[in-house]
């Protein structure tokens, strides 16, 4: 009898302790296995750093001290696995999700979060479709392809030359990006002198390049992947075309440098969503904190994952509730200085101040240009 009383008392203590410090679960999803597992872990660490730093500060929500807990899941960059783990997080009762890493996994998973009414913020998926589905609680902390296309177009017209020719590979990515580039060129005061098309199997671009040559462009924009960008650069050289050449993130890789051989030079540019770490407002400090905590260097998107987790926590603080239905309004009107810049979303959920970096080829590698 005595033992029971003690047990009950202990139980009571346990309950009151839990009431004193409520645990709020936040989910994170990214590929932790497969060929981009290093990027997935990088994102997870970024989110983890935010959670632990806020825990150290001792946050109170609804008058109670709370402790945030990050639940990390692996989607292996596979859309099917992505939806499975999304459901698992929903069942585990997370109040918000940072993720996923890829557009291909985030788009199908966003439906599951939407049905459960849980906000999701991706730090790295750039496909514009994600925020065009009409879901109320989907956000991203990185610039999308629309913003990237606008930057390519504007940069081309204003910095590289007025007459711009655009080639795309007719994939969803290439076509979508090229349309935005077209608008950006016009907005930047340039002129689109040619729009040509190829497909994502082709290796011969001589015919369309010859046609473009006749329009005498200052810049050629290629909206497609690196595997074709390389041969295209070679063929430009073969045709004696001296225009500058710029491509989006699909071609902003180390692979294209190998494939283009001696045809790649300082006239070659590319863009990528986001800023290089040392150009972010809070980049330097973040780099040190990250290194101290995980003993690893930041890969790419960790600061965006940090800001995504911070946005969720800041919104909970502001709404004084961890209930997704209650803090969603606060999340929508987020406006704070994060590591990557000001975190504020437009009515679709895209980051307002989404930045895009232009790179130029120099000494055998891509070099970020100051914006």
């Amino acid at each position: 009898m005595k033992q029971t009383v003690i047990a009950l008392a202990l139980l009571g203590l346990g309950i009151s302790a839990a009431q004193a410090q409520e645990v709020i679960k936040i989910g994170h999803v990214g590929p932790l296995t497969g060929n981009i597992a290093h990027l997935g872990k990088d994102n997870e660490n970024g989110a983890k750093l935010a959670v632990e730093e806020y825990n150290a500060k001792g946050i109170k929500i609804g008058g109670k001290a709370v402790k945030f807990e990050l639940i990390g899941e692996d989607d292996a960059a596979d859309p099917k696995t992505g939806t499975t783990v999304a459901q698992r997080l929903v069942d585990a009762g997370v109040k918000g999700v940072v993720g996923h890493l890829n557009s291909g996994t985030t788009i199908p998973a966003s439906r599951i979060y939407d049905q459960a009414g849980i906000p999701v913020i991706t730090p790295s998926a750039t496909n514009p479709k994600l925020t065009q589905q009409g879901y109320k609680a989907v956000f991203r902390t990185i610039a999308n392809d629309v913003q990237q296309g606008a930057v390519i177009g504007k940069y081309s017209a204003q910095k590289l030359g007025k007459k711009v020719a655009i080639i795309d590979d007719r994939t969803a990515y290439g076509q979508g990006l090229a349309d935005e580039v077209d608008k950006g060129v016009k907005a930047g005061g340039g002129q689109v002198v040619a729009r040509e098309f190829t497909n994502n199997q082709a290796t011969d671009f001589m015919a369309i390049l010859t046609k473009i040559k006749a329009t005498n462009p200052d810049v050629i924009v290629y909206s497609g992947m690196d595997a074709q960008g390389g041969p295209m650069l070679k063929q430009l050289k073969q045709l004696g075309i001296n225009a500058k050449w710029i491509t989006g993130d699909g071609g902003c890789t180390g692979e294209i440098i190998k494939l283009a051989g001696d045809a790649i030079n300082a006239n070659t540019y590319c863009t990528q969503a986001g800023l290089p770490l040392d150009q972010m407002p809070g980049g330097k400090d973040f780099k040190e904190r990250f290194k101290k905590k995980f003993g690893a260097d930041v890969q790419i998107y960790a600061p965006y994952a940090y800001d995504a987790a911070a946005a969720i926590i800041e919104a909970m603080k502001k709404a004084n509730s961890s209930d997704p239905a209650k803090y969603l309004a606060a999340l929508k009107s987020s406006n704070f200085k994060g590591v990557t810049g000001v975190v504020a979303f437009d009515d679709k959920g895209d980051i307002k101040a989404g930045s895009v970096t232009v790179y130029q080829f120099e000494n055998g590698a891509w070099k970020a240009l100051k914006n």
């Binding site: 007719r170 729009r195 040509e196 098309f197 190829t198 497909n199 199997q201 082709a202 290796t203 011969d204 001589m206 015919a207 369309i208 010859t210 046609k211 040559k213 006749a214 690196d226 595997a227 390389g230 041969p231 070679k234 063929q235 050289k237 073969q238 045709l239 004696g240 692979e255 190998k258 494939l259 051989g261």
Partner: protein, 310 residues
């Protein structure tokens, strides 16, 4: 005018490669009535084998002239492809020689998948940078019209191979045996022609041509990949049909015509249709021409002989 001339040069380079690959399709069709869909993959195997061979020779025998590596690559790729071609014929097609026509056709598609997957396992999914051993610096042939040495080599080698093949088929005993087998293999075998050997030889010669075409494509564009055989294979098959499948001269004419139509189509379709169609329709333009030719000449441009077979 410069632009038109440049487009004609572009078309000739692409067309001459199509023509060489089309010869492989047409030879096999002429003799067996079989469309060997795996032919494009043999081209891919040729390019990737040459890539491995060149990389190997560059590491064990440094300091040779670049052309020497190129020739060595070809000399390794050709026998390997010949062996691949022979193996395909011996294992996949010979047993089906008297089967209904659909069976070998589907087998050909299967062999094509098999070769692609094997190449993916051996060489991986990545695009490989193919060493450009022949000069790629452009030479101005007429004012404003450029051609690179590697393109000139492509056209030259293709022409040489076509002439060589025509001599082989029309002037030698083996060629006579091939023509006899094509006409009627039962009668040919009654006349003392070893038809199995002739058919195997046809595959071997066609595969050697494909190997050369593969190496030329890879050195022209500087890229090699396990899926690179699909598009040239499809285009060459189209060229063979356009020229009249089963007819050697037809394959050559069909290849050159298809290359020119593509280049000119991509270059001018937008101007001609007042912007209504653009270069994303370049393939449609090529197939439209094919359709029109086949409506008025169902056997292709030069393909009279096939009428009784088709």
């Amino acid at each position: 005018m410069q632009t038109l001339l440049q487009q004609i040069v572009n078309g000739l380079v692409v067309g001459s490669v199509y023509a060489v690959v089309a010869l492989g399709y047409t030879m096999v069709y002429g003799i067996l009535g079989l469309i060997n869909f795996a032919h494009g993959e043999v081209l891919m195997v040729g390019a990737l084998v040459a890539l491995s061979a060149i990389t190997f020779f560059q590491s064990v025998l440094p300091d040779l002239h670049p052309i020497a590596y190129f020739v060595m690559g070809l000399l390794v790729a050709m026998p390997v492809c010949m062996a691949v071609g022979y193996t395909i014929e011996r294992t996949a097609y010979r047993r089906l020689r008297n089967a209904p026509r659909l069976a070998p056709l589907i087998t050909a598609i299967g062999v094509s998948f098999l070769l692609q997957t094997l190449a993916m396992i051996i060489w991986g999914r990545n695009y490989h940078s193919f060493p450009q051993l022949i000069q790629t610096a452009p030479i101005e042939i007429v004012a404003g019209v450029f051609m690179t040495p590697v393109q000139m080599t492509t056209v030259g080698v293709s022409a040489a191979m076509m002439i060589g093949l025509v001599i082989l088929v029309t002037r030698t005993n083996m060629g006579r045996a091939m023509r006899a087998t094509a006409e009627n293999h039962r009668v040919a075998s009654l006349m003392g022609v070893d038809t199995n050997r002739i058919i195997a030889l046809t595959f071997i010669i066609g595969s050697a041509l494909a190997a050369v075409a593969g190496v030329m494509i890879a050195s022209n564009y500087g890229v090699a990949h396990y899926s690179m055989g699909f598009l040239p294979g499809l285009k060459a098959f189209t060229a063979a049909v356009l020229g009249g499948i089963g007819n050697l001269a037809g394959a050559m004419v069909g290849g050159i015509v298809l290359g020119l139509v593509e280049a000119i189509g991509a270059g001018y379709i937008e101007t001609w249709t007042g912007g209504w169609l653009n270069s994303s329709y370049q393939d449609i333009f090529a197939f439209l021409i094919l359709g029109i030719v086949l409506i008025f000449r169902p056997t292709g441009l030069l393909g009279e002989r096939v009428a009784d077979r088709a």
